[in-house]
């Protein structure tokens, strides 16, 4: 039960420890550590200066005495240049990323947190920066920077800032409307304190990730510019070395190899480190779904098509894979029967598995879910183990569905009418014209005052109640034998709920449909249902005729639920303190 005070403490592994266990992160970090430490210790590792040329060593091969990696076209020691280039790379990365962080994060916090006017200003400024192709601007401004790569990287940092600005601003805009920020304001915290305490903690992760990528791209850009010959020739850098190696490609290919390897390894390590950081700080992110392959089933379907009820679910079990690889059961042993034209209410609290049962019947469980046992028979035909193609011929035609949240269940990019017509044509062999007529008639039937206008509206142009009517119209379009309604009124206002319940009741008797109504609201069950099944923690604890169960619940859990209902009897009777003290 959700009220139990013994919450299972979730294993709390700090992000850095998860990172330390990720071989990709460890390898990338080790490579970077080695490269930059050697760069820092360059004078100790090699006796040569980066620009010290030894004419006797021009194009010396690898392994020459005194030049372990050889020397270049001017007789400069390649190892020494490589190590000093690592220094240049480190400085470039730090300047570029540092400037980007300072500008981007500050502007993002300010632009996201304060009012619209400040945001318009920052937005405009950063759009301006983003309008110009970055590398080109660095080139155009070359006379201004005087060829100093540090000045160039400073400007590059400014050019990187808009990317960070957008990340931070969007996060802050999201956090700003979180209730915990409101609560902090009510508690009297000042803006600076709210930003520090509540906002920065949210922004931190994504900023660290972005910074890792920026370190890599700063180095790549600096190398590219040095390759072109921008800036002082005195500064050793991977790009300058690649350029000189490129010129000497036919004479001494190894000269090209070393700096390319170093540059490739460095930038690749930053990218891989960034990816590993993302996994550690934000989780691996949603996995792709396998669309159109049917539900995963780990049970041999029962043989034979028996006669029987319209819908007969026996011993249904559904599980989800847990992070440790085992399966976690969410529905354990569900058996229920819906006769033709009957309305069954499936009731339970959140997490009881009622929606999972409904999805399994429709064959639309999420791709990770596995049906681990039981059978679902519709008109005697086994549905467990059917592929998506076979199921999709039943769906929309024989079995239909009404969702809970009306708005998110309509595609925002298509007009309401077009979506309904598409559904009708998928389920029934009718022409586009016929489908349109049918949809217009349905819209009128579900109580929409101006069906033509609704037909031509986009989902964001209609109200929640109207959207739910549209979805009902879509569900009953093909006169299904079974309607599965998942909390169809929970997202609606009470007065709208009453009207939708009326509509469902009328349609049910008019079409003679059976309905499987999933809800947590006993009032809705009392209003609409013939039978009731009560679910708790993945299993049905009690089922029976609605009147019987309401009057005489047998299972203690049902009794507890019915007792928790706040009814007309529960009026507060004690008087407020102020009045009592007066009397």
């Amino acid at each position: 039960m959700s009220t139990s005070d013994t919450a299972a403490p979730e294993a709390r592994v700090p992000a850095w420890r998860r990172l330390a266990k990720d071989p990709q992160a460890v390898a990338a970090f080790a490579v970077l550590f080695v490269i930059f430490t050697l760069g820092l210790l360059a004078p100790l590792v090699t006796g040569h200066g980066p620009n010290e040329s030894d004419l006797s060593a021009v194009n010396a091969p690898v392994g020459s005495p005194g030049h372990p990696l050889g020397a270049d076209e001017s007789g400069r020691d390649i190892l020494a240049r490589l190590l000093h280039s690592a220094r240049t790379a480190a400085v470039s990365a730090l300047i570029g990323t540092g400037v980007a962080l300072a500008i981007g994060v500050t502007a993002g916090l300010v632009g996201g947190y304060f009012g619209r006017r400040v945001r318009f200003a920052t937005e405009w400024l950063f759009n301006l920066v983003m309008t110009f192709p970055g590398v080109l601007l660095l080139i155009v401004l070359m006379p201004l920077t005087g060829g100093d790569y540090r000045a160039t990287m400073l400007i590059f940092g400014v050019l990187l800032a808009p990317g960070l600005y957008r990340i931070v601003r969007n996060l802050v805009l999201g956090v700003k409307h979180e209730l915990y920020v409101d609560a902090a304001r009510v508690a009297g915290l000042g803006d600076a304190r709210i930003l520090r305490r509540h906002v920065l903690s949210v922004v931190r992760g994504p900023v660290i990730i972005a910074a890792a990528f920026m370190l890599g791209s700063s180095i790549a850009v600096q190398s590219g510019l040095a390759f072109l010959g921008v800036g002082s020739l005195e500064i050793p850098s991977f790009g300058a070395m690649i350029s000189s190696g490129f010129r000497n490609l036919y004479i001494a290919p190894a000269q090209f190899l070393w700096p390319s390897l170093a540059l490739g390894l460095t930038t690749a390590s930053f990218v891989l480190l960034g990816n590993a950081l993302r996994d550690a700080l934000e989780g691996t992110g949603p996995k792709p779904l396998k669309i159109g392959s049917g539900q995963r089933v780990a049970v041999a379907p029962e043989d034979g098509d028996g006669e029987g009820a319209l819908l007969e679910v026996r011993g249904l079990a559904i599980a989800y894979p847990a992070p440790n690889g085992s399966l976690k059961t969410v529905v354990e042993d569900v058996s229920l029967t819906v006769e033709k034209g009957q309305v069954l209410g499936l009731v339970g609290e959140s997490g009881s598995g009622k929606t999972q049962t409904a999805f399994a019947t429709l064959g639309v469980l999420p791709a990770e879910a596995v049906v681990t046992g039981g059978s679902i028979r519709f008109e005697g035909r086994e549905l467990v183990g059917l592929d998506d193609h076979a199921l999709s011929r039943l769906r929309g035609k024989e079995i239909a569905y009404i969702p809970q949240e009306p708005m998110s269940n309509l595609d925002p990019s298509y007009r309401v009418g077009a979506q309904l017509v598409e559904g009708v044509r998928a389920a029934l062999p009718v022409s586009a014209r016929e489908a349109r007529q049918r949809v217009l008639a349905l819209l009128e039937r579900v109580g929409i005052a101006d069906p033509k206008r609704c037909f031509d509206s986009y989902p964001h142009q209609i109200s929640g109640g109207m959207a739910q009517r549209v979805l009902i119209a879509g569900a009953v379009a093909s006169r299904p034998k079974l309607l599965i309604a998942d909390e169809p009124t929970t997202a609606l206002d009470v007065t709208v709920q009453a009207e939708i319940l009326d509509l469902l009741r009328d349609l049910q008797s008019e079409l003679g449909m059976a309905v499987l109504l999933v809800t947590h609201n006993f009032g809705v069950v009392a209003d609409l249902c013939d039978r009731i099944a009560v679910m708790r923690e993945g299993a049905i604890v009690e089922s029976g005729d609605v009147r019987d169960v309401f009057r005489e619940p047998r299972h203690p859990y049902t009794r507890m639920l019915l007792d928790s209902i706040l009814d007309g009897s529960a009026v507060r009777e004690d008087r407020p303190a102020a009045e009592r003290s007066l009397t």
Partner: protein
């Protein structure tokens, strides 16, 4: 004199898009809450009930009207002056999942309002222990993160935070509507219990008449930014005078098939007689 007096409150939000005209969501609402009293605010979406709560908390600036707490005007206060009020006016929000910062330990969440009021760390720590005890959570909860708790437990944490500074008024914005049925009753009982012990007043916002009836001494009904009626809870929720309240009452289904059938009939008659257009 009442603890909270709201008079002719109007609130408008900026319209969508650049230079669009502001949209008024409250058209002059007046109400008051006495010391130790619960005033229930009930209405449907778009009624402005949440906006009233947010205006009282200073999260929304009124276009006009006055909000007086303990005789003192609170609209147009500076941030600094508002901070003085923070000790006396607190809040419990609807969604226990987003009203607690997921990256702060419960102890830090609870001591936040205390530290703003200038409490020392050791004082705050012992206060946190007693707060957790008041809402029925173990003392060890202080070191844990919000995500380690269930919805009902999180709402208890939010209530503890609201109680931290010994406030005289708590604005409760749909505090139980995100909770399961069995948890709802427990949290409402806790709120009543706290009121009995501390004499705090509640401005209790909800869309659910049954919840409102259980917790309120008096009830105010709102419809599209206007006050419909105010009165003692028992009266308003069982024999309402206004047609809208009647409709609201009859629309919420009861968990009794026979009684619900009767209500349905009564509602049908009401809609037919009052030729009002549908709400949708």
């Amino acid at each position: 004199m009442s603890l909270l007096e709201v008079a002719d409150l109007r609130v408008a939000f900026p319209g969508r898009g650049f230079r669009a005209a502001p949209v008024e969501v409250l058209h002059g609402v007046s109400l008051d809450v006495a010391e130790g009293e619960t005033l229930g605010l009930v209405g449907e979406s778009g009624s402005g009930k949440t906006t009233i709560g947010r205006a009282v908390l200073g999260l929304v600036a009124p276009a006009s009207g006055s909000i007086r707490f303990d005789g003192r005007e609170t609209t147009g206060l500076t941030r600094r002056a508002r901070r003085g009020l923070a000790k006396d006016v607190q809040v419990v929000f609807q969604d226990p999942y987003t009203s607690l910062n997921p990256s702060l330990a419960v102890g830090d969440i609870l001591s936040e309002p205390l530290i703003v009021q200038g409490a020392k760390t050791t004082e705050a720590r012992s206060r946190v222990r007693s707060l957790l005890d008041q809402v029925g959570l173990p003392a060890g909860a202080a070191e844990r993160l919000p995500r380690e708790f269930s919805g009902g437990q999180r709402q208890r944490i939010a209530i503890a935070r609201a109680l931290a500074t010994d406030p005289r008024l708590i604005v409760c914005d749909e505090p139980v509507s995100a909770l399961d049925l069995s948890t709802q009753a427990l949290v409402l009982d806790l709120l009543v219990d706290i009121q009995e012990r501390t004499g705090v007043a509640y401005l209790f916002v909800s869309h659910d008449l049954a919840v409102i009836r259980r917790i309120s001494h008096r009830v105010t009904v709102l419809y599209r930014g206007d006050l419909v009626e105010t009165g003692p809870a028992a009266e308003v929720t069982s024999s309402p005078r206004h047609a809208y309240t009647r409709r609201l009452l009859l629309a919420s289904p009861v968990a009794d098939p026979e009684e619900q059938a009767r209500r349905r009939e009564a509602r049908r008659r009401l809609t037919e007689s009052s030729l009002e257009e549908r709400v949708i």
